[in-house]
Amino acid sequence: MIVAQLLFNGIATGAIYSLIALGLVMILRALDLINFAHGDLVMVGGFLAITFNVTLGLPFPVAFVLAVLAVGLLGLVIERLCIRTIKGASLMNVVTATIGVGLILQTWGLVVYGGEAIRLPHPLGEEFLDVFGLKILPQQLLIVSVTLLLMLLLQAFFYLTRTGMAMRAVMNDRETASLMGVNVRSMMALTFAISIALGGAAGVLVAPVTFVTFNMGIIVVKAFTALILGGMFSFGGAIVGGLLLGVFENFMRGFVSSAYGDTIIFTLLILVLIFRPEGLFTTK
């Protein structure tokens, strides 16, 4: 029974990693950039949801949508101010700029919300649901289903709308897309904003379970690991990599050691980088 419980918990944790990793892949493909501020935008999503839901008393779904939109909007601003203006220089400069943005956001979190963890109330209550002997927190169901929903919406957007198709074109081949008349610049900005909004959504979803702290952005390291497991450039890889990492992590902690949990995970990461740098699922 404990195996099934850990498996389920792993999927719920992994869904969060997938959501963050998915955003990282989109940015990587559209902008050739690793966004080190990504985790801190997860934190911003969590804190904004607390402001909307707790301070302003808005219902959870409204708070969720507002927080995600606000983070997306912030993404547009960051793209305009810090990425596009520096982009001409070298890639390293832009990457460094994202680290700087991350630090600014952390300081903002620390000053505005303080150093202590803050909890977003469980929108569906915190009584466990008993499903075939598994104890499931309503929030875990919400995490899994909202993640699934967001992924389906993203898929529909990419394949059914003109803008989505243009974005895919930019991610696949920027020059050709530009020759076909796609406005590459605005597609890049939009991709950045949507990616970051996904991270913000992850922050809101996880806030009732592991709370929000100014330094929670470190979760991005887990998403990078998921990304590397999944092969860096594939959407499917990021999703599967995230889920796999979540499940693996829960089993490791459950059956081997909690105190060394992260050490084991990062050892795995290094092994993958050495032996399968193209990721576990990529065939070449």
Partner: protein
């Protein structure tokens, strides 16, 4: 020539100035209390408790004329960020730059421990109101005092309660892997050993961990129904929910790190029924306590918790000690602190032993309906 004369004039002026400063000291000296606390960072709730309680105490003392024969009290803050390295820098600043007469703090044992070396070297008394790790006292450092309960003693009380009053034989321990958590766990384990009980599970976790399924699975397999938990509120809140999810039905005994309102906020229903060793509870009918609660509420519009009470008492103790010392002299102040053997405060009757531990009696509280309530004495 003129340049040289200028230097002499300057030196003379400085000498006169220094002399005036010293001469003006009789009864009107400024007592500089260096407050070392986590004012920012993840432990900032303790910084806030320290500041609020210390300011209230000092305002009250100064409004009543300050310390008789010595002077008025002044608080000088340095931020430890709840981090040992920043804490040592802050302590050094208090001692060297601000020339404080006494250091009040730090809250976290992991920060108090390295900062004690700074005050010891400078031979300045340091009084912590919140650090409970056993190794803070008893190491031969003559300059450290505390109003917090040494976890050696709270661990013994909790063990007695677990074995003799609640009647548990299969007991598990889980603690944060740092001085405060380890100290609590060792104090509890020693208390159990004294009563011929060996814990059936002994688990550690790290600060900022978000998953405790491994430790909890082993505790479940050990068949234990009682958990001695020694760590902080954020990890406790997550761990207690996961314990329920993994099907554990545990009675939890813990020390005052969880007597922090932040714990109630984060853990919600999972805080119910946790039994906590503590120095103070706001619903204590003692008139001295009720008078304090009333004044605190009037000033801050909320109830004081035990950390507020402990810091408040620490400042009152300092007032008494400076008064007995009759000056700000470090050696006299230390002797005066040791001479305190029956001073009534809001956390009990203070009585320092030769290690600098306050041997006041303490109590147990529990969480009921989302509030801390009295449990037993």
């Amino acid at each position: 020539m003129t340049k040289r004369r200028g230097v002499w004039v300057l030196l003379a002026a400085l000498a006169v100035g220094a002399g005036l400063g010293a001469a003006g000291g009789v009864g009107a000296e400024e007592i500089k209390i260096g407050v070392l606390a986590p004012l920012t960072g993840p432990a900032s709730s303790w910084g806030e408790y320290t500041r609020d309680a210390a300011e209230m105490a000092v305002d009250e003392i100064n409004a009543a004329g300050g310390v008789k024969g010595v002077g008025k009290m002044k608080l000088i803050y340095e931020d430890s960020e709840g981090n040992p390295k920043a804490g040592v820098t802050a302590a050094t600043k208090l001692v060297n730059r601000h020339k404080v007469h006494v250091v009040l703090g730090e809250a976290l044992s992991s920060v108090t421990l390295p900062t004690m070396a700074v005050t010891q070297r400078a031979e300045i008394p340091q009084l912590t109101a919140i650090s409970g790790a056993p190794e803070v006292t008893g190491s031969g450092n003559k300059w450290i005092f505390r109003t917090q309960i040494n976890q050696k003693y709270s661990g013994d009380l909790l063990a007695d309660w677990a074995v003799n009053r609640l009647g548990f034989k299969k007991i598990a321990i889980m603690h944060a892997n740092e001085p405060f958590g380890a100290g609590g766990a060792e104090g509890f384990r020693a208390g159990l050993a004294k009563r011929d009980v060996k814990p059936v599970a002994f688990e550690r976790f790290n600060r900022d961990d978000k998953d405790f399924s491994g430790q909890l699975r082993r505790i479940k397999e050990s068949g234990s129904k009682l958990l001695g938990f020694f760590g902080f509120h954020t990890e406790a809140a997550i761990a207690f929910k996961q314990a329920k999810q993994l099907g554990l039905d545990l009675t939890v005994l813990t020390n005052d790190a969880l007597a922090n309102p932040k714990f109630l906020e984060l853990a919600g229903p999972d805080a119910e029924g946790v039994i906590i060793s503590s120095m103070f509870i706001a619903d204590d009918p003692d008139p001295l306590v009720q008078e304090f609660v009333k004044r605190f509420k009037a000033r801050y519009n909320r109830e004081p918790n035990q950390f507020h009470a402990s810091v408040y008492d620490a400042v009152s103790i300092l007032k008494e000690a400076f008064q007995r010392a009759g000056s700000t002299n470090n050696v006299k102040l230390r002797e005066a602190l040791l001479s305190i053997q029956d001073l009534r405060g809001v956390t009990g009757v203070h009585k320092f032993d030769e290690n600098g531990d306050d041997r006041k009696p303490f109590l147990l509280e529990t969480v009921k309906g989302g509030k801390y309530v009295f449990y037993a004495k």
